[in-house]
Symmetry: C2
Subunit: 126 residues, 2 copies
């Protein structure tokens, strides 16, 4: 369903914000879009290791519906769709920054596993 009954009555702002960022890849999408400004579908897909097309579409649609991202479709022969953050999305990203710092701190402190590299895989050795 395009319009799930999310957005139930919220108890506090945290609730509302978490509702909007909950989803396996939403935080990363936000981050990617923030880092690059504008990204095409396939670029996002390549940027998120292991995401399925379905999930990416689904998340992007919800985020569009939630007013976080802007979607531009070019009616060209090879389809082209560009995604970028709206003001609201950018503000959310800002609001997420302290959380990200807390998370990095936590990773450092607990020596947690960090992602397998995604931007420069190309193992030189083999």
């Amino acid at each position: 369903m395009a319009n799930a009954p999310r957005k139930g009555p919220y108890i506090c702002g945290i609730d509302a914000a978490l509702d909007v960022v909950s989803g396996k890849w939403k935080g990363l999408v936000l981050w990617e879009l923030h880092a690059h400004g504008v990204r095409r579908f396939a670029e996002l897909r390549r940027a998120l290791p292991g995401v399925s097309e379905k999930m990416l579409t689904q998340h992007l649609r919800q985020m569009e519906e939630d007013g976080l991202v802007h979607r531009t479709v070019y009616a060209e022969v090879p389809p082209r769709v560009e995604y970028s953050l709206t003001e609201s999305g950018a503000a959310l990203n800002e609001a997420l920054r302290p959380l990200g710092e807390w998370g990095r701190d936590r990773i450092r402190r607990h020596r947690l596993a960090v992602a397998p590299d995604l931007d420069a895989p190309v193992p030189a050795g083999s």
Copy 2:
């Protein structure tokens, strides 16, 4: 299971932080504990409308495991268990504050100003 293989390799700090706060009631528990300092199990349960005992226990256990809350058991005849935030938990709450403000802002905005083109969700007039 009590010990799910969460804490997979993280891609960024946001990831790690969201992992730790994801759960229907965790944000609220954090908030309650922050607001009151120390709370007993039943107090928390009463504070969260609709939470089941199972979920509350489960969330509290995970949060303890994640080093967010401190759990003190008094070996008394009517059992008594007190929960409070650890330093890490308090810091997380701080980091969550801008997010909460963003959420409140979002709630406000969507109540008053309806966007001219996309959503016009019926002002409930009956």
